[in-house]
């Protein structure tokens, strides 16, 4: 088996590792398998990224049936970058997961947990790597179903409700997406993205295609929790087990955003969708609403995980704004923010995992004076929080820089104002927590807590460290992001 097979293995390794976990049924073994599979995927993703950088888009025909008859894997800069993002997060979350999961999931089910995690990972990778709109749906379902299960594992009973609501919303979204696919298929007779893009201009003026676009967008917006379709997200993130929050928050919505990018810029790449009357306006308005509304809501939350969940909604707003700009800079901003936000949110949720392990809660009220007891953990929180605010040397700064620059190039003062205002709000909701943790005395009779174990701290700090490494030297990530943006804008040419 040669390097030519890597695109297939990228997904299949994780996919096949899952049933193996199911057979072996030993927590440690399952964890080991998950670890190996994830790291292997990371390596493959990096190989793919570099070869894409070298030789340009890679096409892999599954079953050797040439597209559009068979299913094609198509890896260009964007998908390669996303693959790297997802696998990186996974590789950091898994070592972290062991301790955290043992603490939060009944021992008898741990092996199933890793099975689910692997399926989720494989599903996300499958979405990113595929070049076929229906295949995308299949893997979307794999990742969604597994994430419903993972979320429902939370200790709090509200996790069940959260998972159920997510399931309903998610299924509606998926069905909408499939309807959209059906309509496009009806008019073009193809399911292959590249093929569709070539066929699209002929039929673009039909009402059917317009409706199809609408349904695809709405379906995916449900998945990426674009305001006002976000209602499932806060609870899902809040009540899921810590490791799950970290992984899903860092990857799930990102991949959905990617899918949207694909639809808008590749499938409809030959025609300038955003120039349709209203499309751009609607996107931007929703994004702005998300950035301001969600950030403002975050300020009033009493549960830190919930604060972060709402801030995620705001961050999604950033990405959509970047997409809406439809300029190389703005798009690059969004893409690099996919990566940066994955790092910081992953890191922050991991921090909360540490807190939850020791404190058994992530309510602000319980975190008084925690910094004295868990200095390293809270320091990580401050570092991540600053990155979320977007202070220089952190990745948050980089994304903000590009988004603002893109907005200025377009002369969109309002957009600039919104972006900056939202980061001001970020100062408030982050500092609220910092002050409580640092300047409030630990209340009398509060349970004595100690610093989190190294098995949690090390991955957490690696994640947070990455936030600053890629914030200080952002040239690599930005080269890729800019390249990706240009590929997208260039359509297929």
């Amino acid at each position: 088996m040669t390097a030519a097979q890597i695109p297939a293995l990228q997904v299949v390794v994780a996919l096949l590792a899952a049933p193996v976990c199911l057979i072996l049924r030993r927590p440690r073994v399952a964890w080991l398998i998950a670890l190996v599979a994830t790291w292997a995927s990371l390596v493959m993703a990096l190989i793919l990224l570099f070869s894409v950088l070298k030789v340009g888009p890679i096409s892999y025909l599954l079953g050797d049936w040439e597209a559009p008859w068979g299913i094609e894997y198509r890896i260009d800069m964007v998908s390669a970058f996303l693959l790297v993002i997802v696998t990186t997060i996974g590789s950091l979350v898994i070592p972290y997961a062991q301790a955290s999961v043992e603490a939060e999931v009944p021992a008898a089910r741990v092996y199933l947990f890793y099975c689910m995690y692997l399926l989720n990972l494989a599903g996300l990778l499958g979405i990113v790597i595929t070049g076929d709109v229906f295949n995308l749906f299949v893997f979307l379902e794999i990742s969604s179903l597994s994430s419903y299960v993972l979320i429902s594992l939370g200790k709090d009973r509200r996790a069940l409700i959260a998972a159920y609501r997510y399931l309903v919303m998610g299924t509606i979204g998926a069905t909408f997406y499939v309807i959209g696919v059906g309509l496009t298929y009806m008019m073009t007779g193809s399911l292959n993205m590249v093929d569709l893009a070539t066929l699209m201009p002929a039929v673009i003026d039909t009402r059917t295609i317009h409706v199809a676009l609408a349904f695809l967008t709405v379906g995916l917006s449900l998945k990426l929790a674009l305001f006002p379709l976000h209602v499932w997200l806060p609870n899902a993130y809040t009540y899921a087990p810590s490791a799950v929050s970290a992984f899903i928050a860092a990857t799930g919505t990102k991949v959905a955003v990617y899918a949207l990018l694909r639809i808008v810029f590749t499938v409809f790449g030959e025609v300038d969708v955003l120039s349709f009357p209203g499309v751009q306006e609607v996107l931007l308005t929703l994004a702005a609403a998300a950035m301001i509304g969600a950030s403002a809501t975050a300020i009033y939350q009493e549960n830190v995980k919930r604060v972060l969940a709402y801030s995620s909604l705001a961050q999604i707003g950033y990405m959509v704004v970047g997409i809406g700009m439809e300029s190389a800079t703005g798009l690059a901003g969004s893409i690099v923010h996919l990566f940066n936000h994955a790092l910081m949110k992953g890191g922050l949720f991991m921090v909360l995992g540490c807190v939850f392990l020791r404190l058994g809660s992530v309510e602000i009220a319980d975190m008084h004076g925690l910094a004295k007891r868990m200095p390293l953990t809270m320091a990580a929180f401050v570092a991540g929080g600053l990155s979320l605010i977007g202070v220089p040397l952190s990745v948050g700064f980089i994304s903000k820089w590009y988004l603002v620059q893109g907005a200025l190039e377009k002369g969109w003062w309002a957009a600039v104002a919104v972006i900056l205002a939202s980061s001001i709000l970020a100062i408030v909701y982050i500092w609220r927590i910092v002050e409580v943790a640092y300047f409030r005395p630990r209340p009398e009779g509060a349970p004595a807590v100690s610093e989190a174990p190294a098995s949690l701290l090390v991955p957490t700090w690696m994640m947070i460290g990455a936030c600053y490494y890629f914030g200080i030297d952002a040239t690599r990530t930005l080269d890729v992001a800019v390249g990706a943006a240009e590929t997208l804008l260039g359509g297929l040419r």
Binding site: L9, L16, L61, W69, I71, N135, Y185, G189, A212
Partner: protein, 323 residues
């Protein structure tokens, strides 16, 4: 056409009806009707699956859930429906608007019949050597979709295990007493017991037939798997879940659950090892068509195994909940 209207009627009935047993039954009928409709529309395989899965398994599961939860729906709060109605009407209107530019129903000149499909119809016979185009597309041309789909069902099964799976068996007796009232009705009935005893082997036999004949006629792994599972489910319903479990221990079903997907995925890997791309069956044998044939048989088997195991697992997990 008339069938569709019939479905619509059922749909509304479901929306109105408050008794959930009735709702579930209607849903089953809904699925069955649609299955019939599919036959009319030449989609025999789909009809087969829908009848088995939609009308069969889904209904059973829902009934199981009702047995565990409640059978009456409370009245809906009044403000919500209006809003929902509005939303639905808008969506529907948009869709209708979208249909306006569609090619007419059954129009042979519609694009879908000319871009990709023709090759399947023309060449699949030579490329895969199977008369049933659906099967060859399913298992070979778009085999990867099917792999994904098998994994979806696998995910569901594992998920159900994870969510409501109860490893310990101590509480079974208690459950028996609790469910006695709803169960002994069936259990006592001699005719049912005898008939089912007679039916059981036939069902399994039929399942195998569907499994292996899928390449030529309608049928294949999914249908077979579901039918196979339904055999056990019937057994479990008529006799006791424990007995059924004795036949297929959770471990066993779990093992086959994994084995099936591994088989499917493994075939792909072998294909890759033999120098083709992933899921390329042509390289499995000297003659490409033979390779295709072999590959398809294997993956269909994998599908059958997983689906059967998944259905059994899911059903038993539901059944072994205490009320």
């Amino acid at each position: 056409m008339s069938l569709m209207v019939f479905m619509a009627v059922i749909g509304f009935a479901v929306a109105r009806l408050r008794n959930l047993f009735g709702v579930v039954m209607l849903t089953g009928i809904f699925s069955l009707t649609s299955a019939v409709l599919y036959v009319v529309l030449d989609a025999v395989d789909v009809a087969f699956t829908e009848a088995a899965v939609g009308a069969g398994i889904a209904t059973v599961l829902m009934l199981g859930t009702l047995a565990l939860t409640t059978s009456e729906e409370k009245t809906v709060s009044d403000n919500k429906p209006l809003l929902a109605l509005l939303l639905v009407t808008i969506t529907g209107a948009v869709l209708i608007y979208g249909t306006l530019d569609m090619p007419y129903y059954g129009d042979p000149t519609a694009p879908i019949h000319h871009h990709v499909a023709p090759r399947y119809l023309m060449d699949s016979a030579y490329e895969t050597g199977l008369p049933n185009v659906v099967t060859s597309v399913l298992a070979s041309y778009r085999g990867y979709d099917t792999l994904g789909e098998v994994f979806v069902i696998f995910t569901a099964a594992a998920g159900v295990l994870l969510i409501i799976g109860r490893p310990q068996r101590g509480r079974r007796r208690a459950r028996r007493d609790a469910q006695w009232d709803i169960e002994h009705g069936i259990r006592k009935n001699v005719i049912l017991r005898v008939v089912s005893k007679l039916l059981l082997p036939m069902i399994l036999l039929f399942a195998l037939y569907v499994q292996w004949h899928g390449d030529f006629g309608p049928g294949g792994g999914f249908q077979a798997g579901v039918i196979f599972a339904s055999g056990f489910i019937l057994y479990a319903l008529i006799f006791d879940v424990d007995l059924a479990r004795a036949v297929v221990a959770p471990r066993v079903s779990r093992f086959f659950l994994a084995l099936g997907v591994l088989l499917y995925g493994g075939v792909g890997v072998v294909g890759a090892l033999l120098g083709g791309n992933y899921l390329d069956y042509s390289v499995l044998a000297r003659v490409p068509t033979d390779g295709q044939h072999l590959g398809i048989l294997l993956v269909e088997l994998g599908v059958g195994l997983t689906v059967a195991a998944a259905m059994i697992t899911i059903f038993f997990t539901f059944a072994s909940q205490e009320r």
